[in-house]
């Protein structure tokens, strides 16, 4: 049966899980930077999620999500053996990965760390020296440190409260690295919008290209609707087909963060309705 969850791992109970899904035709094509669109139920909304890993031989893809609204809350109720109703992909342009002379820095925050994993892996396989910089508020919210360790030559960690790694933000670690090593080839960032904006600004100060992966609102994911549009370098671009990765120094992050709030009250209502009618599985 297609789209069956073959493995589920609760990374942060009740908040974030990893699903390994049998989807051979997507796994065969998925490249770092690609995303999928899924629906959980017949009345469900289409939501985009970055592919965190793909195994063409096993015919599986991996996604990691944060429970943020109704669709992800519903997704969280699914268990191994359950199928995801609709799964469409791989979508978006893949990350440009070529052999670089200098190190590549992959910065991840929140569930963006998992999304970054696929890209770091791609650079690693291309023979690049990969520095992973990941951060979270506190140790318990940090994902994928071990997985990144397998594909990064160095992993630097920061937490806001200092419970693990350096106390502070990923941007501080990034800045130190950029100061110490003038040969950095490229920076990539995936995470919350303020983080990506800050990372792009730091990289920009050191004249290093910084690609960011945008998490705009999407509907079809194939360029039909324009919901995901954002100004990049003064031009309107669609994150779904022109991206999702763009030069972070050209992205209008202010516009992006505003557009992400377009349906907030309705998203909240949908989530509340759902939690009212479903038993919480987080403590299982």
């Amino acid at each position: 049966m297609p789209n069956v969850i073959v493995r589920k791992r609760r990374l942060i109970p009740g908040q974030t899980s990893e699903l390994v899904i049998a989807a051979p035709h997507i796994a065969a094509k998925a490249k770092p930077g690609n995303f999928i669109i899924l629906r959980v139920c017949p009345q469900g909304e289409r939501i985009p999620l970055t592919i965190a890993d793909a195994d063409a031989a096993a015919g599986t893809i991996t996604i990691v999500y944060l429970v943020l609204g109704k669709t992800t809350a519903h997704l969280e109720t699914l268990e191994e053996g359950d199928a995801i109703l609709d799964l469409c992909g791989p979508l978006g342009k893949p990350t440009e990965i070529t052999k670089q002379n200098g190190p590549v820095i992959c910065v991840g925050g929140g569930t963006g760390i998992a999304a970054m994993h696929h890209i770091a892996k791609g650079h690693h396989q291309a023979g690049n020296y990969v520095v992973g910089i990941i951060g979270a508020r506190t140790r318990d919210l940090l994902l994928f440190e071990e997985e990144l360790g397998r594909v990064c030559d160095t992993v630097l960690v920061s937490t806001d409260d200092g419970s693990h790694g350096r106390k502070g933000l990923v941007t501080q670690l990034l800045e130190e690295r950029l100061q110490a090593d003038t040969g950095i080839a490229e920076v990539l960032a995936i995470g919350p919008v303020p983080m990506m904006a800050a990372v792009a600004a730091v990289a920009g100060r050191y004249g290093v290209r910084c690609m960011v992966s945008l998490n705009s609102i999407m509907l079809d994911g194939i360029g039909m609707c324009g919901a995901c549009r954002v100004h990049v370098g003064g031009e309107t671009r669609f994150a779904c087909v022109d991206g999702p990765e763009f030069d972070g120094n050209l992205v209008d992050f202010h516009e992006l963060s505003q557009r992400l709030t377009a349906f907030k009250p309705m998203e909240r209502l949908s989530y509340e309705e759902f939690t009212k009618h479903h038993v919480c599985h987080c403590s299982r």
């Binding site: 992909g89 079809d220 194939i222 039909m224 609707c225 505003q258």
Partner: protein
């Protein structure tokens, strides 16, 4: 009032064109149920009796898929609805759809001889009546006839890319001849524009589902959530098992106005707005999850059927005021007259001779107003329509919380980009032989909006029909 009906050549009194029963404007403006309710059997027989049964029927020439119109009307008059349906199905795979959304007034009905002196036969309404009556009965194969050879033979399979009107026509036509067809659709529901674009109140999704089910009964297989060019390429499909491929992916990308403020929250492409409401059933939110908030003061840009669909949808979602802003005058509006009439009845305002200049937003990035340039009409341009000219210095500002841009679409570059050898024209549309529909890759055909640019459902079906004829000839030879 006394209406004198024209007499036919045999001296019989001919009744006037039978009006379509409709939901009252005041009622329908608040629901998503179908506006036109359909003929009763009595109405259908009365209307069918108006047909002159011309020896050389001009109406058939006016039909892009060449339906034997006098033939099906004669069968209907004789009380044989099943035969009427079978006659329509000989050349039209989606009769219940076409009876609703075809612009008959500029096609078959415009050629009807009765139209020269009075009102033409309501061919579209009769087509809808026949399709609905038959489909209510279910069993599709019974009427379309069993396939000439068993459907689904692995050595003659054809792939259709996209599940809109063009592809569905190819699929239906080939399947009826026993050729196996697999349809690959990027979205999660087959139907293309019939599902994501045309609203429920003009084309109930249940009608589309029935047409799709009818095709499944003929052996057509649907693969949803497959994005051609991403999940699978044309090359791979050709290598795989398919003898021929038909590309009918539509003209998917929205065109924006390219004016300041266009990325404010509250500015939607018609594609986004309609996809949320139609495919996502946002009008039932929160029962269905896809959200769209109700605009209070809605402005729609464009004057085609899509603009009208968006405007009428906004009214149904509770807008206080909906205005269609168009840079020319009502006479030049490309939408169907019937739709303009319906929209006005529902309280939609036409704000003609205005063009958008810029959008203004609030501190949170939400749309607050639009600045409009007043226009006047000049001399006719190459299209024959009067050219809109700006009245310099004459502006107005309209408070609005929702703007819907419905000024057209362009070609989605995904397939050409991922298909070596597939040639496109300078506007990005796929080059295809006008007769057979074959592209620059042998045995790969294309038709519908991805070849012609945005057009009608029926013209896409006409292209599908021509391509299917050629494919069938090659495969069954």
């Amino acid at each position: 009032m006394c209406v004198t009906a024209p007499a036919n050549p045999k001296g019989k009194i001919r009744p006037p064109r039978t009006p379509m029963p409709e939901q009252a404007p005041s009622v329908r403006a608040h629901n998503f149920n179908e506006v036109a309710l359909g003929y009763t059997p009595g109405m259908a027989l009365t209307e069918a009796s108006r047909c002159l049964q011309c020896k050389k029927p001009a109406c058939v020439k006016g039909c892009p898929v060449g339906i034997n119109i006098p033939g099906f009307i004669a069968a209907l008059s004789a009380g044989d609805t099943r035969r009427a349906y079978a006659i329509i199905r000989q050349t039209n795979s989606l009769p219940a759809v076409c009876g609703r959304v075809c612009p008959q007034e500029s096609q078959c009905e415009s050629a009807c001889i009765l139209g020269k002196k009075g009102d033409p036969v309501a061919i579209g309404r009769l087509e809808r009546y026949v399709a609905d009556t038959f489909m209510a009965d279910g069993a599709c194969e019974e009427i379309t006839g069993a396939p000439t050879c068993p459907a689904g033979q692995e050595n003659t399979r054809v792939a259709c890319i996209g599940a809109g009107p063009a592809s569905l026509t190819v699929a239906g036509t080939l399947a009826a001849q026993g050729i196996g067809v697999d349809v690959y659709e990027a979205l999660h529901e087959p139907g293309g524009v019939l599902v994501y674009g045309i609203p429920e109140f003009r084309l109930p999704k249940a009608v589309v589902r029935r047409e799709v089910e009818a095709m499944k009964a003929l052996g057509v297989r649907f693969f949803i959530n497959w994005v051609a060019g991403r999940t699978v390429t044309i090359e791979e499909l050709l290598e795989k098992k398919y003898k021929a491929i038909f590309i009918g992916v539509g003209a998917g990308l929205p065109v924006f106005l390219n004016i300041p403020g266009e990325n404010l929250i509250g500015v939607f492409s018609a594609n986004e707005y309609l996809t949320r409401v139609n495919l996502g059933r946002a009008y039932t939110f929160p029962d269905w999850d896809t959200p769209v908030y109700p605009g209070q003061r809605v402005v729609v840009f464009g004057a085609g059927n899509v603009a009208l669909d968006a405007a009428r949808t906004a009214a149904r979602l509770g807008a206080e005021r909906v205005s269609i802003v168009y840079r020319r005058s009502e006479n030049e509006m490309p939408a169907r007259r019937e739709e303009i009439h319906h929209a006005k009845e529902e309280g939609i305002e036409l704000l003609c001779l205005h063009a958008p200049l810029s959008f203004n937003g609030d501190a949170k990035g939400r749309l607050a107003s639009v600045v409009l340039q007043k226009m006047r009409l000049g001399e006719p341009d190459a299209s024959g329509r009067c050219r809109p000219l700006a009245c310099e210095g004459d502006y107005c500002e309209l408070q609005t919380d929702m703007a819907i841009v419905a000024v057209g679409t362009r070609a989605n570059p995904l397939l050409p980009q991922t298909t070596p050898g597939l040639r496109i024209n300078d506007r990005g549309y796929i080059l295809a032989d006008t007769e057979k529909g074959e592209t620059t890759i042998p045995n790969v055909f294309a038709g519908g909006d991805i070849v012609t640019g945005a057009a009608t459902v029926i013209s896409a079906m006409g292209a599908g029909r021509r391509a299917a004829a050629e494919i069938a000839q090659r495969l069954l030879a």
